[in-house]
């Protein structure tokens, strides 16, 4: 059966600085990173014929880009829903369009003033009080940290872990961010003791289990593998791109499903990624795992097959996710250390690592798995250095 394996590639990337206050609009930042990614690929705005954007909190629309960049050839555009679950899904959609012949050069991006303008981490009433949220918000379950805490408590209970296991995730990401000049937490590593001493947000989550609302933008250009070989930048091939869903799904509050310690969406995404890439978890050399809250990193490592249920903490304890480990994770510092661009920074870092241009460069890797938001319908990528 024909699959999308290595039919497309990421040919250009762009990224602004990350900060608490960008000092400019999300449209301005989106334009900056799109122009940067085009220049990286050696393309012009008129070459763009597809745009895939993310929903929720990002208010830069196709029409803004059409007006600003003048895109006479735009013929494909789409929006992928479910917040951070969509990041890799934009690349999957771009791949679908390109392999179907509906576009040749597709721009994907995320641009947020999430710290200085609309903070996602505060009471999340933006969607109104209808829909599924009417059953939670009136009671006081109002923030992503609180929604995730319900799952996290269950993880501790079912597997007998302590909050130190969560802390190791944060310590690892902050260690990698500490040597990344681009990171919000550059030069600011933490110890497990500092994690354990940080204040409670919503038990069992502490401040240092939670990501950082961030201002910034990222972009990536997707083209066919053949076209990528003719462009300026070293192609990074898309060995697999997939989306996945689970049972009895709500946005971050899928509390009616049988198990609260399994990420069904990530399990479904994993099955499709490995099928398309013709790989198993043992073949993966590096992982950029979506890390808005530490407990979901552990559950994601389990869902993507890197550890049995409840056993992801061993990967951290044994140092296997360090830069010199068997599968380095969040080499840029992730959301917890570099900044929270809803999973787009993870894609850009995967590309840099496979181009061998990352600040925390790992030698000799041939592929990288990238995962998107947890607790929501999600998506993932396996990026490859070679079109095998």
């Amino acid at each position: 059966m024909t699959t999308i394996r290595n039919k497309t590639a990421i040919a250009g990337i762009g990224q602004t600085e990350f900060s608490k206050d960008s000092g400019r609009s999300t449209l301005r930042m989106a334009l900056e990173v799109i122009l940067e990614s085009l220049a990286d690929a050696g393309l012009e705005p008129r070459d763009i014929d597809g745009i895939v954007r993310m929903s929720a909190n990002d208010d830069v629309f196709e029409i803004d880009l059409l007006r600003s960049l003048d895109l006479p050839n735009l013929r494909f555009f789409a929006e992928i829903p479910h917040g951070g679950g969509a990041a890799c899904g934009t690349i999957a959609c771009a791949t679908a369009a390109i392999t179907a012949g509906m576009a040749d050069v597709v721009v994907t991006f995320r641009s947020l003033n999430e710290r200085s303008e609309r903070r996602f981490g505060l009471s999340n009433l933006a969607g109104g009080l209808g829909g599924w949220m009417q059953y939670y918000l009136p009671h006081g379950l109002v923030t992503p940290a609180q929604w995730v805490a319900i799952f996290a408590q269950r993880y501790l209970y079912e597997f007998g872990h302590t909050t130190e296991e969560f802390g190791w995730v944060s310590v690892l990401c902050r260690k990698h961010a500490a040597t990344n000049p681009h990171a919000m937490m550059y030069g600011r590593p933490i110890t497990l003791e500092q994690h354990q001493a940080s204040r409670w947000i919503a038990e069992p989550l502490r401040l240092l289990d939670c990501t950082l609302d961030t201002d910034g933008a990222c972009a990536a250009i997707v083209v066919s593998a053949e076209k990528a070989k003719t462009l300026r930048a070293t192609p990074v091939y898309i060995a697999a791109a997939a989306k996945g869903t689970g049972s009895r799904t709500e946005m971050m509050t899928s509390y009616q499903r049988a198990s609260l310690v399994r990420l069904e969406e990530a399990e479904a995404t994993a099955r499709e990624l490995y099928r398309v890439a013709e790989m198993t978890p043992r073949d993966i050399g590096m992982a950029q795992i979506y890390d808005h809250f530490t407990p979901f990193v552990l559950m994601a490592l389990e869902a993507y097959g890197f550890a049995a249920p409840g056993e992801a903490p061993h990967l951290l304890r044994e140092g296997r996710l360090e830069l010199d480990g068997s599968m380095p994770m969040n080499t840029h510092g992730g959301h917890l250390g570099e900044g929270y661009l809803h999973g787009f920074g993870h894609i850009v870092e995967g590309v840099r690592q496979l181009r061998a241009t990352a600040v925390n460069q790992v030698a000799g890797i041939s592929n990288c798995i990238v995962t998107s938001g947890t607790g929501v319908p999600t998506s993932g990528l396996i990026l490859s250095k070679e079109a095998y």
Binding site: L129, Q134, P138, Q146, I150, W200, Y255, Q256
Partner: protein, 134 residues
């Protein structure tokens, strides 16, 4: 005590009876007329037998704590910290979110039996969970 307004629900066509019943201090689920299974209020189509047909049925108000969080970081003026949010698995099956009402220092644990009591707020009475069997 002066109460800051909570984020009150905006009932829709599917949920209006659920919220109206809460004004009478009743917690309703949908009970399937096809197979008798209880559905969470927002589930319209029975996941067991694919029937739309249902009747609203009042919960007995008993359940056990399935998970919980103690909220320490305040983000909304109506919710003074600390407070404890429970996810309770009701005897009927659905899991319900509401606050714990118990004396300060009450230890909460997964598996603990709780039951529903009602609190009247200006625009919408809401259930809370109290430790112990009804």
């Amino acid at each position: 005590m002066q109460e800051e307004p909570r984020p009150y629900p905006q009932p829709d066509r599917d949920s209006a009876p659920f919220w109206e019943a809460q004004r009478r201090h009743e917690l309703l689920f949908r009970r399937c007329n096809g197979c008798g299974a209880f559905r969470y209020p927002m589930t319209l189509l029975c996941l067991n037998c694919r029937s739309f047909d249902f009747e609203w049925a009042a919960s007995a108000g008993r359940g056990i704590v399935f998970s919980y969080t103690v909220v320490h970081h305040q983000t909304h003026p109506a919710f003074s910290v600390p407070y404890t949010m429970l996810l309770v698995e009701m005897e009927e099956g659905p899991r319900v979110v509401a606050q714990l009402r118990a004396p300060d220092g009450t230890a909460v644990s997964i598996g603990m039996p709780v039951h529903v009591e009602w609190e009247d707020h200006p625009d919408q009475p809401l259930p809370v969970f109290v430790p112990g069997r009804l």
